[in-house]
Every structure is written in structure tokens, then in C-alpha cells.
């Protein structure tokens, strides 16, 4: 029976190619947009290198000091992280890195190259999973001894030395001193706000003052901590431990500030917090989902309505067919089922087209480097979400026309006298 439905559907589409094209256009473009948006989102927070263990990773990257009249917010001081975060007991490992990448100039011979750097400790290589293309990360000993070594990303290494493998062991001039390249990692896209950089250097080689001895009470600075939990279930315990540490801390400048706020957030929570100083530990997840799911549905509603309108209009054309089937005893439920199947089928075809279009758009985005180092692709979750959306869309746009068609009175339908 399904086969005959399929045949009927195929004939129906062929008879009015223009309307089939309109329907397919609407479905495929809607799904393309949704799939690309989801891919962008997944690209920023999904489990990809270097943030492979998204369920076990936490970032402590910001502190807000609040008072009745003023508020001060920034990333954290190196000194603060050393004393109060590296001493946390629950995590498996904790790394320290600069909170924001800083643009620097590298000199190789006569060639000058701009790159974004982060100063880090050696733990970063353990906590995060960078894909090493060549060489190795720098070690704890090298960081302790302030060895002038660096890790580059693949693109910068290629620009400097031709190939990634050729870069290892060579020297790059930075701030008047030679640094030896010890490793090359695969590019990290800029949408990975917390881990993106093009050049990683041992934190001890900085000329800035890390200890800041005059100002023990100053917790703010330029750094962040990357915390790896032993298992996903430990995450709440680590967050609780950090909050406990904060509660015990004296408030700097108590005349001005009354409260210290800082959270250990998952990458997803960080993304959802969107740099807002008011976001909580989960980064205002509820508001985020409300906004985006609402917008997504609204965005789907218009093409769905469009499809409903066209389908309803086409019932007029098919009135005779429906009348005959009704006269020969087809029940309303069976007719509704048929039209629903037809519509879901159309959406699935549109969905496949949409996925193809999405792949094309992603390829365009990747090759245009609009997001530097972007590597958008139709991954399994993206594909699954795309198909799921197509089905939802098909049901959304097919239910009302199916109901309407099944309710057509047979005698009138046969005569072809129906008003929409």
C-alpha cells in the first residue's frame, strides 16, 4: 500500500511541477539555514579538538566584583589562580592560560607575521586534546626554567617554514629573542573562544609581572584556568568546591565592593553566558534556549504556513480524486494518512536537498575563511538534527491540509464544487 502511496505522490508532484518546486524550495532552504546554524553552534561548543571532553571540562575565566555603585569585571590574576584555583582538590588536572589571545608579530628572517598568542603552563597540553601535526608540547621543566620554546598552529608554521614538519626545531624571533619551535598543532578555529590561539608560549617567558607582589589582594588579571574533572559526575562537586573557596576569600576593596562572583563553567555554559556579567553558573541556559528555540520555531513557522497554504489550495485540484476514493469507501483516517505520508515524503526529499545545500554553504564558509580556521562539516549530530527537523517540519505543515482533505464531503468533491 505504501508503494501505491508513493506512486500516487510521484504522479501528483509531476502533474504540477511548479508547485512541487515552490514546496521543495521552501523546505530545502529552511532546513539548510537551520542545519548551518546548528553546525555553527556545534562548531563553537561541540566535542571537537582541542575541547574533546566537553563533559569533563570547566573554565574559570572571569570574575565580577560587585558593589552597590560600581562593578568591576575581568579575567583572573595569575597570582590568584596559583593560590586559590590550582589548590582545588577534586579535579584531575588544572591548567592556566591567558584568557584572551593577544596579537603579536613573529619574525622569521626578513619575514614578519602576525599571530595570536597565549601564554600557558605545561598542564594545558594534558587538559586539552590538541592534535599534534609534528613535534611535541613543551614540558613542565621547560616552563619552570622559562625555556624559550613555542608551539605553533599548522597554518602559521606553514607560512613561516613551508611545511609543519620543517618548522620543528627552527627559531622564530619574538620580542627580540629567539624562540625554538618544538611542536605544531592542527588549527583551532576562532569560534573556540576559550582555547583558540595560533602560537602558544610558556607563561614564565613573559616580561609582564606575574606575581604582582604589591597587590596580593588584587584577584583580577589576564588569565583563566582550564579544569579537567576525573569524570563527568565530578563537575558539580568541583563547581561547589570553587564556590566554597570564593566564600572564604576576603573581598578586595571592601568599601567599594560587597560581593565576589566567579564561576567554573562548562564550555556550553560559557557560550550561553555570552560575556554577560549577570549570568549564573549555567550561563542563563533557560533564557538562551527560550530565545533560540523560539526563534527557530518562528523561523520554521513561516515556510510551514506557506506550505500549508499551497497544500490547501491544491486540495481543490485533487477534489475529484478524493471524491472517487471516498465514494469507493476510503475512510477519513486513511485519506489523512495518505496525505500525511505524501507530505512527509516531500519534506524528506526537501531535507536531503537541504542537507546538500547546507554542505555547499559550509564549504563556501570554510573556503572564504569568514570565520578564521573554520572547519564546518556535516557531522553525525548535525545530520541527525537536520533529518529530525525535516520530519518535524513535515508533520507541522502536513497535518492541517491532511485533515482538511479528509473532511471533504464526497458528493461535492465529485462534482468539483468546493470552496477552500
Amino acid at each position: 500500500m505504501l508503494l501505491s502511496y508513493l506512486k500516487l505522490a510521484w504522479r501528483g508532484w509531476q502533474r504540477r511541477k511548479f508547485f512541487t518546486a515552490i514546496s521543495l524550495f521552501g523546505i530545502s532552504f529552511t532546513l539548510m539555514m537551520l542545519v548551518v546554524l546548528f553546525a555553527l553552534f556545534d562548531h563553537a561548543v561541540g566535542a571537537r579538538a582541542p575541547e574533546r571532553h566537553t563533559d569533563r571540562l570547566l573554565f574559570i575565566s572571569r570574575m565580577v566584583l560587585r558593589g552597590p555603585e560600581s562593578q568591576s569585571s575581568s579575567s583572573l590574576g595569575y597570582n590568584f589562580l596559583q593560590r586559590h584555583v590550582l589548590t582545588l582538590r577534586t579535579p584531575e588536572a588544572i591548567a592556566v592560560s591567558e584568557a584572551y589571545p593577544i596579537n603579536i608579530t613573529l619574525y622569521v628572517g626578513q619575514q614578519a607575521l602576525k599571530a595570536d598568542r597565549r601564554y600557558t603552563d605545561s598542564n594545558l597540553w594534558r587538559v586539552l586534546n590538541f592534535d599534534f601535526v609534528a613535534g611535541r608540547p613543551y614540558t613542565a621543566t621547560e616552563v619552570r626554567d622559562a625555556a624559550h620554546v613555542m608551539v605553533l598552529n599548522e597554518t602559521v608554521a606553514r607560512r613561516c617554514f613551508g611545511t609543519a614538519a620543517a618548522a620543528v626545531g627552527r627559531a622564530v624571533q619574538l620580542e627580540g629573542r629567539p624562540y625554538q619551535v618544538v611542536g605544531v598543532v592542527a588549527d583551532v578555529p576562532t569560534s573556540r573562544e576559550l582555547t583558540y590561539a595560533e602560537c602558544w608560549l610558556p607563561v614564565t617567558t613573559t616580561t609582564a609581572d606575574l606575581q604582582d607582589p604589591n597587590n596580593q589582594r588584587n584577584y583580577l588579571g589576564d588569565f583563566q584556568a582550564v579544569v579537567l574533572a576525573r569524570q563527568a559526575a565530578d563537575v558539580p562537586a568541583i563547581q561547589a568546591e570553587y564556590q566554597q573557596v570564593l566564600r572564604r576569600l576576603p573581598i578586595p576593596d571592601p568599601e567599594q565592593f560587597k560581593e565576589i562572583r566567579s564561576y567554573a563553567r562548562t564550555p556550553l555554559a560559557h557560550y550561553m553566558a555570552n560575556h554577560s556579567n549577570d549570568a549564573g553558573q549555567d550561563g542563563d541556559a533557560a533564557a538562551f534556549w527560550r530565545r533560540w528555540v523560539g526563534l527557530g520555531l518562528l523561523f520554521m513557522l513561516l515556510p510551514a504556513l506557506n506550505l500549508v497554504n499551497i497544500n490547501v489550495s491544491r486540495t481543490l485540484e485533487r477534489a475529484a480524486e478524493i471524491g472517487v476514493r471516498k465514494a469507493f469507501g476510503a475512510t477519513a483516517g486513511r485519506l489523512a494518512g495518505q496525505f500525511l505520508v505524501e507530505n512527509v515524503l516531500l519534506t524528506l526529499v526537501g531535507g536531503v536537498l537541504g542537507l546538500g545545500l547546507a554542505a555547499g554553504v559550509m564549504h563556501l564558509l570554510n573556503s572564504s575563511q569568514f570565520i578564521p580556521y573554520a572547519h564546518l562539516s556535516l557531522s553525525a549530530p548535525v545530520f541527525g538534527v537536520g533529518l529530525g527537523l525535516a520530519l518535524l517540519f513535515g508533520l507541522l505543515s502536513g497535518a492541517y491540509p491532511a485533515y482538511k482533505m479528509s473532511k471533504l464531503p464526497a458528493n461535492q468533491a465529485l462534482k468539483g464544487r468546493i470552496t477552500a
Binding site: G26, I104, E175, T207, V308, N309, V312, E317, A420
Partner: protein, 400 residues
Amino acid sequence: MIRHIFTLMWNRRRANGLLVLEIFLAYVVLFAVGTIGSSLWENYRQPLGFRFDNVWQVNFLPGTQPKAEALGTLQQVLARLRATPGVLGVAVTASNTPFSFNDSRTAIDFADRPGGPKRPINNINSYAVGPELRDVMGLEVTKGRWFDQRDAVAGSHPPLVIDEQMQRAMFPTGESALGKLLTLNKDKQWRIIGVVRAYRTDGELKEPLPAIFGPIAPADTLFLPQSLLVRVAPGSGAALEKRLADDIRRIGPGWTSTIRTLDEMHSSQLKQVITRPLLLSVMSIFLLLNVALGLFGVLWLAISARRAELGVRRALGAPAGAIARLIVGETLALTTFGLVLGLLVAVQFPLLGALGERTSVYLTAIALAAGALYLLATICALYPSRLAAGIRPAVALREE
């Protein structure tokens, strides 16, 4: 005639309900895009107030050097840079340089006259700049004067320059702000000595905010600026950049510097600001195309369903033009129903002052969106209306 069409369509409101709903949603989309678009356009039309070609931003960090020493080193660095061939001018500034995403905002309670009622002026961009900034950035002084030698002598009231937006915010009636005193930071009073056209460091697409400028004198020992704006000779490149970086490192022990051109900062800032509106407009164009195709399809199908009715009309003497006008009129009547619903939503924004956009922007957007919606509906109805006008009564009536 128009009333007749409206009555016709009103009687068929149930049948056309979904179409009206679709038109309503399309209007909301158009209104949203119109609001964002006209807001950006409005901002873009205001003067930027400075030239950023051939200007470089030099940020430096004095490392572990204590502030008192760093201030001395800075003077040496400035002298060195100014003497470098290819450098036309150097101005010190706080870190809120053009297109840097850094800002320093303040709010004041301002009274027109001493003892008068106070009203707040919020979101004022406050700049601490060296007196050379005018020449480096090409600022245009429209009233009074810029900082000069006279300001080196510490008077009772330090000098302050404001921009025209600030002038308007202080005295909406047009009274000149020159010579007036402005209270900042609780009790310190500043005297306004000049007005510049603008200095919109947030970029040309961001809403213009009022600005105030305080001078950084060479003898200043309180504040260590960490940014320089350098005007270079046209065509300067990597060689000069390396030379400046080397000089700074040689003079300042442990100093590090980052040099970027304002051109490059401008494009990256522009990209960041424009990405979301661009994405939104691509999505809306697609949505509207979708609506247009759908409307066109529905109208076309409706014509073939109404062949008999239209045939009768022709047979009874309606000219082809009248039939075409009827179809277009019906479509526009439907559009009006959707539009009225949409307007009910749209007027809430200026009325409630939601989202903090200017009322003029909302009104422009409401008008633009309505115009675009009618245009869209007319275009969709044109072909079906010609189809309807071409129906020959003899053929149509025989089909019956």
C-alpha cells in the same frame, strides 16, 4: 469599489485566514529587518569625525617597570618615535582607541544653570588624550579651541573638550556650552574650552554617543597611558613597523608592544558588527521569497478555481482591466488585513520604548515595511490578474 472589495474579502476571512497569518508574519519580519537596517543607516549617515587611513595604533606594556620610571621612559619613547623618519605625528591616548572594542563610559547629572534641576546624561564616551590627537586623527574643531600651550599651566578648572552630540545633550535649545563648567567625578569641575565635530571610536555603524575629552599633559604623573596613535607617511609598511617595535623595546627595559593599523582594525570591527545583521537579512530575504512564491501559487490556483465566476463577470460586461484590478485589489485587501495585525505589533515598540531604539528609526521601519509588503503583494498578484483578465467567457462558461 474599494469598500466592495474589502467587504468581499472580509466575508471570505475564514478561508483566507492562513494567508492573512502568513502576511502578518511577513510584515513582522520586514519590520525587524527595517528597524535594524534603518538604525544602521541612520548611524552611518552621522559624521565619523576622524580619518583613519595611515594611522597605526601602538599598544605597549611596561612589564615589571614601576610606574614612576615608566612615565619617564614613555617620554623618551615618544621623543624617539617623533624623530623617526616616516612618522608624521604621535599622540598618547587611553586604551579606548578607534575600533578597539575598548570603551570608557561615564554618566553625569547635568544642570543647565547652577542650582537648576539636574537631568542625567548617560553613556558618555570619555577620552583621555594627548594634545597631538587633533592633528594625528584629523579632528575638526567647530567651536572654541583644542588643547594647547595655555593648558599646560594648571588652573583652577582643568580644560575639557566635548563633541557636538554632547553639546546637544547638554543644551538641546542650542545655547553654547563654551566656557561652561561641567562637574565630573563628584566634585571636580572642568571648563569646556572647545567643541569638535565627533570622534566615534565605536565605528560608523554604532549609535553615536556623546563624547568628552580630557588632556594628558606631558607632565602628568598620575596616569600612564598605554596606547599611542601614530600617523605615518603614506605607503609605510613592515620595515617601519619593525623599527618602531625595536625602538620601543630598546628604550624600555622589558617593554613589549603591539602595532596594528587602524585600517585593519576597522575592517575587523566592521565585520564583527555587520555579521549578525547580514545573516538576518539573508534569512529574511529567503523568507520573503518563500512568502512571495507561496502567495503567487495560491493566487494562481485561486484563479483556476474561479474561472466560472470570472467568466460570468466577463459575460455580463466587465472589461478585462476591471477584472485585473479586482484580483489585484483583492490581494491588496488581504495584505491590508495582515498589515493591520502587524502594525498592532509594530507600534508597541515605539510606544513601550522596548529595545532602546530611537522612535524615528521605528517609524521609518514601519513605513518601509508597509511599502515593501504592498509592493511584494502587487508583484505577486500581477501575473494571476493578467491570467484572470485573459479568460474568455465563452470558453469558461462552457467548462461549467
